[in-house]
Amino acid sequence: MSAIPKEEYIYKCTSACAGCSSSLCLRYVLKAAGPDSVLVVPACCTSVIQGIYPATAMNVPVYNVAFAAAAACASGMSEAFAATGKETNVIVYAGDGGTVDIGIQSLSGAFERGTNFLYICYDNEAYGNTGMQRSGSTPIGARTTTTPGGKPTPKKDLDRIVEAHNPPYMATACSAYPLDLYKKVRKALSIKGPKFIHILAPCPPGWRYPTEKTVEMGKLAVKTGVWVLYEREFGKLTINGPSKAAMRKPEPLEDYISGQGRFKNLSPETLNLMRQQVEQNIQRLAREEEGIC
């Protein structure tokens, strides 16, 4: 793997919140993708982060599109580039609300059609742009402005939905592991067809932790097994190094929960449910990697 390029495609003048991990991720996504790339961005934090007309913080073309429409818009763009012989990367960069909720129909359609593009969902587990309302990706127990008593139902398993479309490449990533993300974007863009990367992107104002803990929060998500880093290439699962270690000996779930205000006053029953979900997910992935399931 060559060194990460020095070129920047997202400048330092963004409108991101302090400690924003999604803009950090975007920086590495674009370094991996390079200048012959287009971002398609539905309504999400990145709609704001990129800057306000006539200024922009971006050094690649960014096509902003309506909330539900990103994957479909990218489908059209990808076909137009194919029709004109261009090899330009078409990359959707969408939040969790625009992916697991309002955008899931167009996501599913684009994957079923075999669209040649990379869809990246950066997941801060709520509607961040509008001030932290619950999304389908919000975990059980998390307090948001529309679940002030804690979300009663678990996080939607987006990855298994995407997996059901049998894409040639899909992966998870986390903002605390930028080199891993960089490599995954490079690999994804080397493959033709619909590719998917799901990034866990901790959010200081939404998750209610101090801004300087953004990297630590991402590491804890992986080390506790809440978030598992893996790749699935042409159906073959590989669990990545940091998660392999975590699966052998996970750190206590409480270490991840206790640092976040959104999980304040979590009931022991909910904590137990979370623990069960984490264990079930790890076991399912471990069995798949070993070829048992």
Binding site: V48, T56, N64, A69, A74, S75
Partner: protein
């Protein structure tokens, strides 16, 4: 080449001649025949185009938006609920200044389910920044679709165009059709703001109160310029192919005391009514409104006007009648007729004229005196 075709087939033939780079397709009655026919052209190689069989109309327009800004000519077709489902993206296409062409086969809206002709679907999109033309014959469906690409892609316009044809009463009826070798009538697609990674730009970012209205004004400025562009393109089309069109199609209007205004197939039906009325000594004429956006300047001074609306704005009135009233100051006799495919014959239209009461509104089949 002279052939016979349905309205839907004529649209598909025009699309084949226009050679879009990308076509997004989703079925809906009574439009489906258009996207089926285009799928055949693409499969057999008669049309070298990328065909995206999307999962919804919202995605159909989104895909056209991505393809159009990606640098190729695009087309889609829809109807009724499909048009409404893509409403958000219809605004986006115009705001993005993308010369997408769409055929809309006019159809009523549920509930109850009704697949017959009505104009409420397209009128609900009248404020989106799309140009709208309504056609009355199979030949006109072909000609208007071809011209739509040329008008939309003109740099003075750069707005999308919706070609409207009545469900079943035009989409599924058969008439003669002259297809053309169009030569260079359509120049290669060129979008000044197409995506260019060598010149990266932001498209549709956050735009504050200091600037947003400037983009809105620019749409209106182009809409006004579009009147000249439409006239130029229709004139060139007439020179090249021998069929001339204008903002309206007038029939025996020169000396008419009373003019019937309607859109689509009712406008053609009104011509027969006019002949009947003339036989009775009533000096009637027909003015079929073709372009609805931009709305044409009409000279109706000194005439009585009967407007047939195949639509309704609840709590207000017929959309066309109101437009005529607002634009000309004339108080028309407003007839609401043909909703959801309600049968309206030329005899009925002649009756509307005979029983006209300027300034009043009548619902055909509801009010006793009709």
């Amino acid at each position: 080449m002279l052939t016979i075709a349905t309205g839907n087939r004529a649209v598909a033939e025009a699309v084949k001649a226009a050679k879009p780079g990308v076509i997004a397709a989703y079925p809906i009655t009574p439009q489906t025949e258009i996207v089926e026919q285009i799928a055949d052209y693409v499969t057999t190689g008669d049309l070298d185009s990328r065909y995206i069989p999307v999962e919804s109309e919202h995605s159909a327009m989104a895909a056209c938006i991505g393809a159009s800004v990606g640098g190729v000519r695009t087309f889609t077709a829809t109807s009724s609920h499909g048009l409404l489902y893509m409403h958000e993206m219809i605004h986006w296409a115009a705001g993005g200044r993308l010369p997408i062409v769409m055929a809309n086969v006019n159809r009523a809206l549920g509930p109850g389910w009704n697949t017959w002709a009505e104009h409420t679907d397209a009128f609900s999109q009248r404020d989106t920044g799309w140009l709208q033309v309504y056609v009355g014959t199979v030949q006109e469906a072909y000609d208007a679709t071809l011209m739509a690409f040329r008008i939309a892609e003109d740099e003075r316009v750069l707005l999308p165009v919706m070609v409207n044809l009545d469900g079943f009463s035009l989409s599924h009826i058969t008439q003669s059709l002259e297809t053309e070798e169009i030569g260079d009538f359509l120049p290669p697609y060129h979008l000044p703001h197409a995506i260019d990674t060598e010149n990266p730009r932001g498209y549709g970012p956050m735009t504050g109160p200091d600037n947003y209205y400037r983009f809105r004004w620019d749409i209106e400025r182009s809409m006004r310029d579009a009147r000249d562009v439409i006239a130029e393109v229709e004139s060139e089309f007439a020179d090249r192919f021998g069929r001339s069109y204008g903002p309206t199609e007038e029939y025996r209007c020169e000396d008419a005391d009373v003019v019937v205004i309607a859109l689509g197939t009712f406008g053609k039906e009104a011509e027969v009514a006019v002949d009947r009325l003339r036989d009775e000594g009533i000096r009637a004429g027909s003015m079929r409104l073709r372009w609805f956006r931009p709305f044409p300047d009409l000279d109706l001074s000194g005439r009585e006007v009967v407007v047939i609306d195949r639509d309704y704005s609840f709590g207000f009135g017929g959309v066309v009648a109101h437009s005529i009233r607002a634009k000309t100051g004339i108080e028309p006799y407003s007839v609401i007729a043909g909703l959801g495919g309600q049968e309206v014959t030329y005899n009925d239209i002649a009756d509307f004229v005979r029983g006209r009461r300027p300034g009043e509104e009548t619902w055909f089949g509801v009010n006793d005196h009709v």
